[in-house]
C-alpha cells in the first residue's frame, strides 16, 4: 500500500482539472432534461429585437373547423410570430367574425353550430385578415352520450383511471378501471355491473356513487374531481339518465385516428408569457372534436413551461419544454421555448458539416452560443477512447501533435476506424444489448460462439441491417448458427418481442403487455400483434445436450389477454403483413431493416450518436416515444437518413460525427451555455466505460489482464460471456447483461469506485507488475523528467504543465528514490479525475 504522505492527489493532479470537478457535480444533478421538437413551423431566429413586426404574421388554429353535431364546439387560437421568432397569443387582440350567413356562433373563443352549411372564420388584426374554413353538419342532431367516446375520456381527463388511483392493477378502495381507459368494455362492466347496486343509480342518477364521489359529495380518497356544474358532470349524468347504455357491439363509436395540438411550437419571451393550446381529435368517421376539455395535458419541464387544464402554457425559467396532450392512445406535443425577456444575443456563424448546421440551428433557436473547439491533444484522446476504447500511445501522440496536416483529425478518425478494436467495442455494445452471457439455458460455448459471431460481423463490416436480419430470421443449431442464441437467451416469446422493439427500434413496449401504453401510442393490440411474429419459434435439443436447434415451427399463435382472441402479426405502427407459409421472423426482419422503416435506422444512429456525445438525441436511447421527444428532431431524422444512405455502414456515420464541430467542441462550458445539457453546445465529460477503463489502465501500466476463457493480455472489451467479470469491472458499472436495457452499463460514479482506485490492489499492483517505470529508468535510461512526460502523455495525452512539473519534481525528489517517487506520481495520475474521464 502506497499512500504518499507528501503528495495529496486532491491538491495535485486533480487540482489541475478546473473544469472537470465542476462538471462532475453538474452531471450528477443533470436530472432536468430539456426536450425539444423542432416543429415544421420553425421560427428561424435571424435577428433579435423587440416587437418590431410591421406586417403582423399570424396564424389561426385549428386550420379548419368542422362542427359535426349539436353538441360539437371548437375553440380557436391566433398566434402571432414576431420577426425575431418570438410568438404571441393574440387571440384576445384579434377581431373575430364569421363570413356571410352565420352557420355557427362565436362564443368567446368557441365556435358553436347553428345550422348546417359552410362559412369562414375571419380573424382581423392590424389590417391583416386570416380565414379558416368552417363546416357545420348535423347541427340538429344531438347524439347520445357514448360510454367509450364520452364517459371514459372524462374519467381519464379527471384522473380517475391513473396508475395511482383506480387505474392501478388492483384498483383503489375496491374499484378498478383500466389504466387511462385501455379497456372500455371492461370499464363499462365494472362501473355498471360489478356491484350492480353500488356505483350507479338509474332511478336517481344524481345519487350515483360515481358522481357523488367525483364531486366530493361523499368521502372520496381521491377528493373532488370535478364540479356539479361542470360539463364533465353533465356528460356523465346524461349518460346515466339515458340508462347507462353500453356502446352497441355492432355500432361501436368511431375510433380516434389522430390528435393534433396547435400551435406546433411556441417561443415565449419572459417569465409569465402565456400561450393557449388547442387540441383537436379526428375520428374515423371524419368528424373532429375539440379535445381541449378532454385531453390530459402535461409538460416535461414544468420549470420552463407549465401547462394547465385548459391548455394554457405559462412561461417560467429560460429553457425548453415539450407540452403534451394525451387523448385515447394518442400523445402529441408541442415545443415551447422560453427565452429571457431582454437577452443580448448575437447568433454565431454556423460552420462545419450537416450535423453542425442542425445543431447550430437549434442553438440559435435557444439563443445559446457554443464553446470553441478542443485542442488536438484533447481530440486525440477523446476520439481514441471513443472509437477504439484505448488511450493514444506515446508514438501516436507525438505523431498526431506534430502532424501539420490540416485534415489530420479526419485522418486520425479514419485510421482508428480501421482498427479491430473499433469492431470489438461495438461487438461488446451489442453483446450487452443482446444480453449475451452463459446461463442455465445458454452454455458457455454458445455464448462464446454468439459473441464471436457478433465480433466477426463488425470486423467484416457487415451492414447493420444485414446483421440484424440474419439474427432475427436465424434458424439452426446454437453452435453451428450462433445467432440463433438470440432466441435462447430469452425464451419467453413476449419478452423476445419486447427486446426486439427495444434493441432495434428503441421502443419500450413493456407497458402495453398489460394495458395501453400510457405515454405512447402503443396499445395492447400493437403489443400482441407484434409478439405474434415470435409465436412460431420451434426449438429442440441437438445431439450435444448444450445445443438447441431453433427453427420456424410454422404453428402457434399469440392470444390477446383481454379479448382472448388470437392476434394476427402486425408490425409496430405498421400493417398486418401476409405471413401465410412464411417464417414470421423473416417477414418482421425484412420490414424492420428496410430503409423506409421509421424506427430502425434512426434508433441505431441515435445509439451511435449517444456513444460519441454522451447523450442521445432521444435519451434514453432505447426509450423513444412520443412523450420523450428528441432534443433535435431534425438531426435525429437526418442521422437515420444518413445511415440508410450509407447502406447501414455506420463507420461512415462515425466519420461524420467525429468530423463535426459538435463532437470536437471543448468540454469547458461558457457562462452562456453551461446550463445546456442536450444541445451539444459544449462537449460532455463522460466517465470511460468500465471495460475500456480497465483496458486503458492495463495499457498505460503495461500489465496485461487474464479473463476466463481468454488468453493473457486479452482486453476486457473482448470478454465474450457476460457472466465473466471481475471486481474492477463490476464496480465500474459493467453491464451485467441481465436485460437488453442500455441502462445496464453504468458510468455513474460511486464511492467504491473511488476507493477501489485509491486503496484497491488493482492500480497499485498494476503499476508494480507492469514495471514500466523501472524499465524506463533503467533500460531506457530516461530521466525522471522524461518519465514524467511519458506518464502524462500515456495517461492524459498531454504534457504536464509547468506548475505540475515543478510540484511533482519536488515530490519525486523528496521521495525515497526516484522510481518510488515516479510510481507515486503514476498512481496519482491514474487516480485523477482527468484520467478516468473522457473529456
Amino acid at each position: 500500500m502506497k499512500i504518499s504522505s507528501q503528495f495529496d492527489p486532491r491538491g495535485g493532479v486533480s487540482g489541475l482539472l478546473p473544469g472537470v470537478m465542476k462538471r462532475l457535480g453538474w452531471m450528477a444533478s443533470s436530472v432536468i432534461c430539456f426536450a425539444g421538437f423542432a416543429a415544421a413551423a420553425n421560427p428561424e431566429a435571424t435577428s433579435v429585437g423587440p416587437d418590431s413586426a410591421k406586417v403582423p404574421q399570424f396564424v389561426v388554429y385549428p386550420p379548419e373547423v368542422s362542427l359535426d353535431s349539436a353538441r360539437d364546439y371548437q375553440s380557436f387560437v391566433a398566434v402571432l410570430t414576431r420577426d425575431d421568432g418570438v410568438t404571441l397569443d393574440v387571440t384576445d387582440r384579434v377581431e373575430w367574425s364569421l363570413e356571410g350567413e352565420s352557420v355557427a356562433a362565436i362564443d368567446g373563443v368557441l365556435l358553436r353550430p347553428l345550422t348546417d352549411g359552410t362559412s369562414q372564420l375571419v380573424a382581423s388584426y392590424l389590417g391583416v385578415t386570416q380565414k379558416v374554413p368552417v363546416v357545420v353538419r348535423n347541427s340538429a342532431t344531438r347524439p347520445a352520450i357514448s360510454f367509450t367516446n364520452d364517459v371514459v375520456p372524462v374519467l381519464t381527463r379527471t384522473g380517475c383511471n391513473t396508475g395511482a388511483c383506480h387505474g392501478a392493477a388492483r384498483g383503489k378502495d375496491g374499484f378498478m378501471i383500466s389504466l387511462f381507459g385501455y379497456d372500455p368494455v371492461g370499464d363499462y362492466t365494472r362501473i355498471t355491473r360489478e356491484i350492480g347496486v353500488r356505483r350507479i343509480n338509474l332511478a336517481i342518477p344524481e345519487e350515483s356513487l360515481l358522481l357523488k364521489k367525483s364531486v366530493g359529495a361523499v368521502q372520496h380518497t381521491g377528493g373532488k374531481r370535478f364540479d356539479v356544474d361542470s360539463d364533465y358532470y353533465a356528460m356523465v349524468l346524461e349518460w346515466l339518465h339515458d340508462g347507462a347504455p353500453n356502446d352497441p357491439a355492432d355500432a361501436l363509436p368511431p375510433i380516434v385516428e389522430s390528435v393534433s395540438v396547435y400551435p406546433g411550437q411556441a417561443v415565449l419571451e419572459g417569465e409569465g408569457a402565456t400561450q393557449r393550446f388547442v387540441v383537436v381529435g379526428r375520428y374515423a368517421d371524419g368528424t373532429t372534436r375539440d379535445l381541449s376539455r378532454l385531453a390530459g395535458f402535461s409538460s416535461n419541464n414544468g420549470t420552463s413551461a407549465e401547462i394547465d387544464d385548459t391548455g394554457m402554457v405559462t412561461a417560467g425559467a429560460r429553457g425548453e419544454a415539450y407540452v403534451m396532450a394525451r387523448f385515447d392512445t394518442h400523445t402529441v406535443g408541442s415545443q415551447v421555448l422560453v427565452l429571457p425577456a431582454d437577452l443580448d444575443y448575437t447568433p454565431p456563424a454556423i460552420t462545419g458539416n450537416y450535423i453542425d448546421e442542425l445543431v447550430g440551428k437549434k442553438l440559435r433557436q435557444l439563443r445559446i452560443t457554443p464553446s470553441g473547439l478542443c485542442t488536438d491533444e484533447e481530440f486525440l484522446r477523446r476520439a481514441t477512447i471513443d472509437i477504439v476504447g484505448l488511450l493514444p500511445t506515446e508514438e501516436e501522440y507525438q505523431q498526431f501533435v506534430n502532424d501539420p496536416a490540416p485534415d489530420k483529425r479526419e485522418a486520425l478518425v479514419n485510421q482508428l476506424l480501421e482498427r479491430k478494436e473499433f469492431s470489438e467495442i461495438w461487438a461488446m455494445k451489442f453483446a450487452q444489448l443482446l444480453a449475451i452471457k452463459s446461463s442455465n439455458q445458454v452454455s458457455y460455448k454458445s455464448a462464446f460462439l454468439y459473441a464471436n459471431w457478433l465480433t466477426d460481423q463488425f470486423v467484416r463490416n457487415v451492414p447493420i441491417d444485414q446483421m440484424v436480419r440474419d439474427l432475427l430470421a436465424s434458424s439452426g443449431g446454437t453452435f453451428t448458427t450462433p445467432q440463433t442464441n438470440f432466441y435462447e437467451v430469452e425464451r419467453d416469446r413476449l419478452k423476445t418481442a419486447e427486446n426486439v422493439a427495444q434493441v432495434f427500434m428503441g421502443i419500450r413496449t413493456q407497458c402495453a403487455q398489460c394495458h395501453n401504453h400510457p405515454f405512447d401510442r402503443w396499445t395492447m393490440n400493437d403489443y400482441y400483434g407484434f409478439a405474434a411474429f415470435f409465436a412460431q419459434i420451434g426449438r429442440k435439443q441437438a445431439e450435444d445436450y448444450r445445443e438447441y436447434i431453433i427453427s420456424n415451427s410454422g404453428g402457434g399463435e399469440t392470444r390477446h389477454p383481454v379479448t382472448g382472441q388470437n392476434m394476427k402479426p402486425k408490425f409496430l405502427g405498421g400493417e398486418e403483413p401476409d405471413v401465410a407459409g412464411k417464417d414470421r421472423r423473416a417477414v418482421l426482419a425484412d420490414w424492420l431493416t428496410a430503409p423506409e422503416n421509421p424506427y430502425f435506422a434512426t434508433s441505431m444512429a441515435n445509439r451511435v450518436w449517444a456513444h460519441f456525445t454522451g447523450v442521445g438525441l432521444v435519451d434514453d436511447v432505447d426509450d423513444i416515444r412520443a412523450s420523450n421527444p428528441a432534443s433535435n428532431r431534425e438531426l435525429f431524422e437526418t442521422l437515420g437518413e444518413k445511415l440508410v444512405e450509407y447502406n447501414f455502414d455506420f463507420r461512415q456515420l462515425v466519420r461524420d460525427i467525429c468530423a463535426s464541430e459538435a463532437y470536437q467542441r471543448s468540454s469547458v462550458a461558457t457562462s452562456d451555455n453551461e446550463d445546456d445539457v442536450r444541445n451539444y453546445s459544449h462537449a460532455r465529460v463522460r466517465r470511460i466505460p468500465a471495460e475500456s477503463l480497465l483496458d486503458c489502465i492495463s495499457q498505460v501500466t503495461d500489465s496485461p489482464d487474464k479473463f476466463r476463457g481468454l488468453p493473457l493480455g486479452a482486453r476486457a472489451v473482448q470478454i465474450a460471456d457476460g457472466s465473466t467479470s471481475n471486481y474492477f469491472l463490476t464496480t465500474f458499472g459493467r453491464s451485467p447483461r441481465n436485460t437488453v436495457c442500455d441502462c445496464e452499463a453504468s458510468t455513474d460514479p460511486t464511492l467504491s469506485q473511488a476507493l477501489h482506485l485509491l486503496n484497491g490492489a488493482g492500480v497499485h499492483n498494476k503499476i508494480v507488475q507492469g514495471k514500466s517505470i523501472e524499465r524506463m529508468l533503467k533500460d531506457e535510461e530516461m530521466t525522471a523528467e522524461q518519465v514524467l512526460d511519458v506518464l502524462f502523455i500515456r495517461a492524459l495525452s498531454r504534457k504536464p504543465t509547468d506548475a505540475e512539473r515543478k510540484e511533482l519534481q519536488q515530490a519525486i525528489a523528496e521521495s525515497a528514490n526516484e522510481q518510488q517517487g515516479l510510481e507515486d506520481v503514476f498512481w496519482a495520475v491514474l487516480n485523477s479525475r482527468e484520467f478516468v474521464f473522457n473529456h
Partner: protein, 671 residues
C-alpha cells in the same frame, strides 16, 4: 334411498352400456360394480399417475393405491363417499373447478369422467370382492320443520303507510327482495322505501319509508312479523332498521356506519341484530336499547352478507374477497372459517333446521355447508358469471339468481328442478314465498318479477318504484266506483233472497197452524164422542134400572088395583101408583130418547173426527213443500252470503285504502 343423486343409477346403467361397447367382457347387468382396480386405476394410469404416484406425489397426492386416493392430497380429501359432485377429484377432472386436471391436456373423455363419478357414488369399491359400506346419513336429507311459525294467523300488513317518499320514473337496480316466511307477503327494495306486496295478488299493500337511503338488504324475522332493512347512503352512512309489518312502524334502528350496510339480520328471539358493510366489521347490536354488543374483526374486505341461523345460535357472514365465516352468535367466537369459495360471497341463506346454510358467490357456485362437520356438502355450479342470491323454502328447496340473468329452482339435494324465464339483465336478488309457490326476483334493470314455481311462465311484475299516493287514490276511487254497481246488485240480490226466505217461512208457518188447528178440532171431536158414548152407556144403565123399577111399580099398580076395590083408599093408592108408574115410564122413555140422541151425537162426532183428520193429513204435503222452499231460500241466502261478504269486504278494503291514501295525500299536501 339416496335421493341426492337420483341420476346415479341411470349413470351406472349408461356406463355399463359404454363398457359393453368398449370392453366385451363387462356384462350389462345392473349389479356390475365399478371398482378401483378394474375401472378407475386404468384411467388414472392413463392420465394421472405420471404426476400423482407415490414416487412423485405432486401436490402431495398419489393415486396409485386406493388408500392413497382416500387419504387425499396436501389440500385435503379428494373424494367423499357417495358425493361425486362434492369430490375434488371429480370437480377437477370434470373441469368444474380449477386447476383443471390433467393440466395442459385435453379433458378426459366423458365416459371416463362418468365412470369416476359412478365409482364415487357406488361407494368407492376397491375390487370386485369389496362390499358397499353403509352410507352415512345424508346431510341433505332434510325434513321440513315448522319452527318459528307464529301462533294464530300469520302477520300481514294492516295499517301500513301509503305515501311514496321518493318518486322515480324508473327503478334502479334491485338490491333486495324478501318473502315473509309465513304469509303471502313480499318486500321489494326501492329508493328510500320498501314496497310491500301481496305475493299472490301482486297488490301493493303499503310502503315502508327508509329515509336513510337505499335499502340494500331485506330479511324477515323468523316469525314473519318484522322486516329487517339494511342500507343507507353509499360511502356516507349505513344503518339497519326493523319494521313491524302490521303497522309499518319502525321498531328500532341500529348502526352508524360510514358507508352503507350491505346486509343485516335479526336473531330468532329478536334480541340481536348483526350488521355488515364496507367497513369490514361485523357488528352485533342489542335490540333492547340499540347498543352495540360487540364487533367482530376478521373480514378483510367488504361484508356483503350476514345471516343468523334460524335457531339464533350461529351467524354466517361473507365478504367480497371470498371470506366466509360462521360465528357463535352469543360470544362472537369464530366457529368455522370456510375457504372454498373463489369469489365474492353475495348472499347467505339458512335452511330451516339450522344445520345447513347456502352461500352464493361470484365464483358461480352455491355451496351448501354442513355446520356440524364444517365442510361443503354440495357445490352447485349454479350460474356462470356469479350467483347473486339464494333462498330456501320450508321444504329445503333452493332458489338462486345469477349474473347469467337466470333464476333457478333446485330440490333439497341440489338438483335443478326448473329454470325461470331469462330476465333482461343480471338478476341481483331472489326470494321464495312462504308456501313455495312463488319466486320473486329483481334484476339490474329494476324489474321485479313474481313467477309461479309450478308454472314459470305465469309472471307478474311488481314495481320497486310505486306510483304516488294521489295516482293510487284516484285508481282506488275508480275501483270503488267500479265495484259500486256490483255491490248494489249484490246488495239487492241479498235483500231479495232474504225477503223470499221470509215469505217462504210465513207460508210454511201458516200451513202448519192450519194443520194444528184441525188436529186440535179432531181431538175435541174425539173427546165429545167419547163423552157421548159414556153418557149413553150411563143412560142405558139408568134405563135398565128404571125399567126394573117400572116393572116393580106395575106390579104394585096391579096389586093396588086389585086392592082398590076393597077400599077407597085403595083407589087412591092405585091412582097414585098409576101416576107414579106413568111418570116412571115417561122418565124411562125420556131416557131412552136421550140415549138415542147421544148415539147420534157420538156418530156425528166420529164423522167430524174423520173429516178433520183427513184434512190435517192433506196439509202435510203443502207443509213439506213449504219446508223445502224455506230450506231452498235459506240455502240461497247462505250461498250468497259469502259472495256478498266478499263484495262487501272488497268495498270496505278499498274504502279503507282510500281513507289511508287520502290521509297520505293530505299529509303530503299539508307537509
Amino acid at each position: 334411498m339416496n335421493f341426492r343423486f337420483p341420476c346415479a343409477f341411470a349413470l351406472i346403467a349408461s356406463i355399463n352400456v359404454g363398457l359393453v361397447c368398449g370392453q366385451e367382457a363387462a356384462p350389462a347387468d345392473a349389479d356390475t360394480k365399478i371398482t378401483y382396480e378394474d375401472h378407475i386405476k386404468p384411467i388414472f394410469r392413463q392420465h394421472c399417475l405420471s404426476c400423482h404416484h407415490q414416487g412423485e406425489t405432486k401436490g402431495g397426492l398419489a393415486l396409485d393405491t386406493l388408500q392413497a386416493v382416500m387419504t387425499g392430497g396436501s389440500s385435503g380429501e379428494i373424494v367423499y363417499d357417495g358425493d361425486y359432485e362434492g369430490s375434488r377429484l371429480w370437480q377437477l377432472i370434470a373441469h368444474e373447478d380449477t386447476p383443471v386436471m390433467p393440466p395442459g391436456q385435453d379433458k378426459l373423455p366423458d365416459d371416463q369422467i362418468k365412470l369416476v363419478a359412478a365409482w364415487i357414488d357406488g361407494g368407492m369399491l376397491e375390487n370386485s370382492g369389496s362390499k358397499v359400506r353403509k352410507k352415512k346419513i345424508n346431510n341433505l336429507a332434510f325434513s321440513g320443520s315448522a319452527g318459528g311459525r307464529p301462533e294464530g294467523p300469520p302477520p300481514m300488513p294492516e295499517t301500513l303507510p301509503q305515501a311514496v317518499p321518493v318518486l322515480t320514473s324508473r327503478a334502479a337496480a334491485i338490491p333486495a327482495v324478501a318473502a315473509s316466511p309465513w304469509a303471502p307477503l313480499v318486500a321489494v327494495s326501492g329508493q328510500r322505501q320498501v314496497a310491500l306486496y301481496h305475493a299472490d295478488t301482486a297488490e301493493l299493500l303499503g310502503i315502508l319509508p327508509f329515509p336513510e337511503g337505499v335499502p340494500l338488504s331485506l330479511r324477515f324475522s323468523r316469525d314473519g312479523g318484522y322486516l329487517v332493512v339494511a342500507g343507507g347512503e353509499h360511502s356516507a352512512h349505513g344503518i339497519a332498521a326493523i319494521y313491524d309489518i302490521k303497522t309499518g312502524e319502525r321498531v328500532i334502528e341500529v348502526g352508524d356506519e360510514l358507508d352503507v350496510a350491505f346486509d343485516a339480520d335479526v336473531n330468532d328471539d329478536l334480541s340481536l341484530v348483526a350488521l355488515g358493510g364496507p367497513q369490514r366489521m361485523l357488528r352485533i347490536y342489542n335490540t333492547e336499547d340499540g347498543e352495540r354488543v360487540f364487533d367482530i374483526k376478521k373480514h378483510t374486505d367488504w361484508i356483503f352478507a350476514v345471516a343468523f341461523s334460524p335457531d339464533g345460535v350461529l351467524i354466517a357472514s361473507g365478504d367480497r374477497s371470498a371470506g366466509l365465516v360462521v360465528w357463535e352468535a352469543a360470544t362472537g367466537q369464530q366457529y368455522l372459517d370456510l375457504t372454498d369459495h373463489k369469489g365474492a360471497i353475495n348472499d347467505i341463506a339458512w335452511r330451516d333446521d339450522s344445520n345447513v346454510f347456502a352461500s352464493a358467490s361470484d365464483d358461480g357456485t352455491v355451496k351448501l355447508w354442513d355446520v356440524v362437520s364444517g365442510r361443503a356438502i354440495k357445490s352447485i355450479a349454479a350460474h356462470a358469471g356469479g350467483v347473486t342470491g339464494v333462498a330456501f323454502d320450508h321444504e329445503g328447496r333452493l332458489v338462486t339468481a345469477g349474473k347469467d340473468r337466470r333464476v333457478k329452482l333446485w330440490n333439497p339435494a341440489g338438483d335443478l328442478i326448473r329454470e325461470f324465464p331469462v330476465m333482461e339483465e343480471a338478476v341481483l336478488t331472489v326470494a321464495i314465498s312462504h308456501d313455495g309457490t312463488r319466486v320473486v326476483a329483481g334484476d339490474w334493470n329494476g324489474a321485479v318479477l313474481v313467477s309461479q314455481s309450478e308454472n314459470p311462465d305465469a309472471v307478474e311484475s311488481l314495481a320497486a318504484n310505486p306510483p304516488p299516493a294521489t295516482d293510487r287514490l284516484e285508481k282506488q276511487l275508480e275501483k270503488l266506483a267500479s265495484i259500486q254497481p256490483e255491490f248494489e246488485v249484490a246488495q239487492k240480490q241479498a235483500e231479495e233472497l232474504a225477503s223470499r226466505l221470509t215469505a217462504m217461512v210465513q207460508q210454511h208457518t201458516t200451513l202448519v197452524a192450519q194443520r194444528d188447528e184441525k188436529l186440535a178440532a179432531a181431538k175435541a171431536a174425539e173427546v165429545a164422542k167419547a163423552e157421548a158414548i159414556q153418557r149413553a152407556e150411563e143412560l142405558n144403565a139408568g134405563v135398565v134400572e128404571q125399567s126394573q123399577a117400572s116393572r116393580d111399580l106395575f106390579d104394585r099398580v096391579v096389586a093396588a088395583r086389585l086392592g082398590d076395590l076393597a077400599s077407597t083408599d085403595g083407589q087412591t093408592l092405585t091412582a097414585d101408583r098409576e101416576a107414579e108408574l106413568a111418570e116412571l115410564l115417561t122418565r124411562i122413555a125420556q131416557m131412552r130418547r136421550e140415549r138415542l140422541a147421544l148415539g147420534v151425537t157420538a156418530e156425528a162426532q166420529q164423522v167430524e173426527l174423520v173429516r178433520l183428520q183427513t184434512e190435517a193429513e192433506a196439509l202435510a204435503e203443502p207443509i213439506r213443500v213449504a219446508e223445502a222452499a224455506v230450506a231452498e231460500a235459506q240455502a240461497a241466502v247462505e250461498q250468497f252470503a259469502g259472495q256478498h261478504a266478499a263484495v262487501v269486504a272488497k268495498k270496505e278494503s278499498v274504502e279503507r285504502l282510500v281513507a289511508q291514501l287520502r290521509q297520505a295525500v293530505e299529509d303530503a299536501e299539508g307537509g
